[in-house]
């Protein structure tokens, strides 16, 4: 492929926020008909660069040329008009409107001021057909899955302006087959000459789809590489800028896990526990110091199972024993009393209270379990919070900082700290590493390992099989809201083995 001139060229971009240099002399270029991944840890400057490009932020230095012309965006609308469209992780469409409307709203074909619905539907169907998407365009958007909604968003973006398409974490809430579908569409657009900027935390996806990648670290450009020329390990090293010592530690441990046998006392055991429509009846026993991994696709019932054990949903069949005694959990408080803690998958909506400080977020659960009439003395609060900020390496180490100003990984650590100070005996963590960067991921995994060594039982829910394999003593595989298999994590159990179970159901 001969190298044409780039459609987009950013040179020496500098962006300063009070007290922080977010971008320092970053160059970035995008060629027509390529998929270019923007890589870096959280806080490396990826979001800032995208916001500069879409006109949300104004730059403090450097220049942007689009199609050879100098541009100076002052707002998202302006950049959209110039040919730069963005599709975010949270789909920014109106789910109460039809698919056709979502694509054309604001640009509806009209005759004498009257919207031509028929023509609009026809055009929408034609546009989606070009992306190999055959769906009923007159149905409202909320009848479709998130993946389809995302593709509709892409169709709109491409139809509005087809030069540069920014996809910011588009795959983080999709399952494997949906990701494949999305990639098909991305390839189609690439062949049409669209320049795509792709951001993802999943390295495998980046390697599958991208032609070229640019790595940022701490607001600085590390380099631009052809994806094929840069091995994955080197990429990670460039992103985090240090050797992967932490990860290697964990590798060692995973060898040890396999040696360890569980003859510890069971903390919790469920017999035929289930809830209609959420999860079919299952049996599960969790011992002291055991890490149990829940593997399965998105929507396979992972979260539902965890919620039953925590009493967030009521079981309608089966029984639950904690410490050998039959219990009915009437709510999360009952579970907390018995030493079960649950760290939610949606840290933004169900876990973290962004307007409160790190300290307030951390002591929340402990305070709740004591009741509001017995406030924790301030000095005790400070002691506890300091201890956990140090232990979990929460950065910045400022207990009075509002949590929403922290990066995703650090928010997750705050959430973990909240439950850890209640000293639970069983910690349920749902997707603790989703959407956070490699470094923070490794630290959280390491923490889980240490907790289990200290005798705490952990139920670990994750979409990433490697992670589940690395940490768990045993793995529960879920499929279609059913627990299909329990695997001891011994020699011979690997990601392929689990994938097979997920794909085909129980083998026994």
């Amino acid at each position: 492929m001969g190298e044409p001139s780039p459609v987009l060229e950013m040179t020496g971009i500098r962006k300063v926020f009070p007290g922080v240099v977010a971008l320092d002399g970053v160059d970035f270029r995008l060629f027509p008909g390529e998929i270019h991944a923007l890589m870096g840890e959280n806080g490396a400057g990826k979001s800032t660069l995208i916001k500069v490009l879409t006109g949300v932020y104004e730059i403090d230095g450097g220049g942007i040329t689009l199609g050879g012309e100098q541009v100076d965006f002052t707002g998202p609308l302006q950049s959209q008009k110039a040919g730069v469209s963005t599709v975010y992780q949270e789909v920014n469409l109106c789910t109460n409107l039809t698919v056709a409307e979502n694509i054309f709203i604001g640009r509806e074909p009209r005759k004498f001021g009257r919207i031509q619905w028929g023509l609009m539907r026809k055009r929408a169907a034609a546009l989606l057909a070009r992306l190999d998407l055959n769906i009923d365009v007159s149905a409202t958007l909320d009848t479709y899955s998130l993946a389809i909604q995302q593709m509709v968003a892409i169709a709109r973006a491409v139809d509005v302006s087809a030069r540069v398409l920014i996809l910011d974490e588009p795959t983080s809430s999709l399952d494997a087959s949906e990701v494949a579908q999305l990639f098909t569409i991305m390839r189609r657009l690439k062949d049409d000459g669209v320049a795509i900027l792709f951001v993802s935390h999943f390295l495998d996806q980046v390697y599958e789809i991208s032609d070229r990648l640019t790595v940022l670290r701490n607001g600085q450009l590390i380099g631009e590489y052809k994806t094929a020329d840069l091995p994955q390990v080197q990429l990670v090293e460039k992103m985090i800028g240090k050797e992967l010592a932490v990860l290697e530690d964990l590798e060692d441990r995973s060898q040890r896990i396999r040696a360890k046998t569980g003859d510890a006392a069971p903390i919790l055991s469920a017999t035929g526990l289930g809830r209609t429509g959420a999860i079919a009846p299952f049996d599960l026993t969790i011992h002291e110091g055991e890490v149990v991994g829940l593997a399965g696709l998105l929507g396979s019932g992972r979260t539902e199972l965890a919620r039953l054990l925590f009493g967030a949903d009521r079981a309608d069949s089966g029984s639950l024993q904690i410490d050998g005694k039959d219990v009915t959990l009437r709510g999360p408080q009952a579970a907390m009393k018995r030493g079960i803690a649950f760290s939610s998958e949606n840290r933004r909506t169900e876990g973290i209270l962004g307007d409160l400080t790190v300290r307030e977020n951390i002591i929340l659960a402990l305070q709740a379990s004591r009741g509001w009439t017995r406030p924790i003395p301030r000095r005790r609060q400070d002691e506890l919070v300091d201890k956990y900020i140090k232990a979990l390496q929460i950065r910045p180490a400022d207990p009075e900082r509002e949590v929403r100003n922290l990066s995703g990984g650090n928010q997750q650590k705050v959430l973990l700290a909240r439950w850890l100070i209640t000293e639970p005996r069983l910690l349920i963590i749902d997707e603790p590493t989703r959407g956070i960067d490699v470094g923070a991921k490794a630290e959280i995994q390491k923490l889980v390992a240490e907790l289990s060594d200290g005798g705490m039982a952990v139920l670990f829910v994750s979409a990433e099989l490697e992670e589940v394999l690395r940490l768990s003593h045993k793995i529960e595989v879920l499929r279609d809201r059913r627990l299909v298999e329990e695997l001891e994590n011994t020699e011979g159990v690997d990601a392929d083995r689990i994938m097979q179970t997920i794909a085909s159901g129980a083998t026994s």
């Binding site: 998202p76 609308l77 959209q80 789909v91 920014n92 469409l93 109106c94 789910t95 109460n96 409107l97 409307e101 709203i105 604001g106 509806e108 009209r110 001021g113 009257r114 919207i115 619905w117 190999d132 998407l133 055959n134 769906i135 009923d136 149905a139 409202t140 909320d142 009848t143 479709y144 899955s145 993946a147 389809i148 593709m151 709109r156 087959s177 949906e178 494949a180 579908q181 098909t184 189609r188 929507g299």
Partner: protein, 340 residues
């Protein structure tokens, strides 16, 4: 990996029953309005079966005559609620309009000047509230509550007692009868209400403004990112509601040939209730003008039945409306949850 591009994407939807369900069940967004229609028909035929003369066409025609003001106000309210807002000021705007109309006419202003003046004032008040809501990010509840006090205050300031209207045009409009069929007559006010409903329905369904109203109610942040004129639309919606309220006031003054500062108290709540019974979602993004019309009809029919019964306390209207509201709010909840 081989390409799976030709897969019909709907099959990948987590609720796989969706495409099939549409065949034998109406789309969820029509369920509330169909429920209201069913209820209305049941009420009507119960009336026909139990009371003599209930089946006369005049009963239906009179529903429009007696509730013309409420219909017009509910139309404006429908737009506001679809954007996810609320307008508490409409009853007060009616009273301000009737008092102002009567006073100006008494002072000898020409009626053809008075009419546009009061309509403009109502719209301006609405626009002001819309601007406050948009630019200062004030909750619609609070902003229109302020508008309520303001308009009611102005009305009381002008005159606290009822003011008769002796203007020739107003009297003529009030007395003008339109013969629809033999023995079925109606007034200019009902015709106005019907025209308003038709125009509003067309605007909501077929104009960019109308679709923007739905988009904002669905997700205002998304609407903004899609480049829709969110601020302008919001302000326009409150302006429209103010205009409808003022028009309602004019209809009131025509019906009663008087103006009174205490007119229309609590009418804003009747209008909201009518919208909700008519299937307009209070959280925004869903609803139809025809639904609100049906809601008003339910309201009016309850009153008609009570009148026909003769020995029932009028308080039953409120009790039944209260019960219906509970019922419909629960229905909306169930429907929206299932859609998710």
């Amino acid at each position: 990996m081989t390409t799976i591009d030709a897969t019909p994407a709907t099959n990948k939807s987590p609720s796989p029953t969706n495409p099939r369900r549409r065949v034998y069940l109406p789309h969820t967004k029509y369920i509330p309005i169909l429920a209201t229609l069913t209820l209305l028909l049941i009420m009507y035929f119960t009336g026909v079966a139990n009371y003599e003369n209930f089946g006369q066409p005049s009963v239906v025609v009179n529903l429009f005559r007696d509730n013309a003001v409420l219909i017009v106000v509910a139309v404006g309210m429908t737009f506001v609620i679809i954007t996810g807002g609320i307008d508490l000021s409409v009853g007060a705007v009616i009273s301000m309009t009737t008092t102002l109309t009567a006073t100006l006419l008494q002072a000898g202003w020409p009626p053809l000047v008075v009419l546009p003046t009061v309509l403009l004032l109502g719209s301006l008040l609405g626009m002001g509230m819309g601007a406050v809501i948009h630019y200062f990010k004030v909750e619609p509840f609070i902003a229109t509550l302020a508008g309520l006090f303001l308009a009611r205050g102005i009305a009381l300031f002008i005159n606290q007692s009822s003011i008769p209207i002796r203007d020739k045009l107003w009297k003529a409009l009030s007395e003008y009868r339109i013969v629809l069929a033999d023995g079925v007559v109606t007034k200019i006010t009902s015709v106005t209400a019907v025209v308003v409903v038709l125009i509003a329905a067309a605007v909501l369904a077929w104009t960019r403004f109308g679709r923007n109203v739905y988009a904002i109610g669905g997700n205002a942040d998304s609407a903004l990112l899609m480049g829709l004129p969110v601020g302008r639309t919001k302000i326009a919606v409150y302006t429209l509601s103010g205009f409808c309220a003022a028009l309602g006031g004019v209809l009131f003054s025509i019906n009663s040939t008087s103006g009174w500062a205490l007119q229309g108290q609590g009418l804003e709540l009747d209008a909201i209730a009518a919208c909700v019974i008519g299937g307009v979602l209070l959280t925004g993004g869903s609803g139809y003008v025809f639904g609100s019309l049906l809601g008003v009809m339910v309201y009016g029919l309850i009153q008609t039945i009570i009148t026909f019964q003769g020995d029932l306390n009028a308080a039953w209207t409120r009790i039944i409306v209260g019960l219906l509201l509970f019922g419909f709010i629960v229905l909306q909840r169930v429907v929206t949850r299932r859609a998710r």
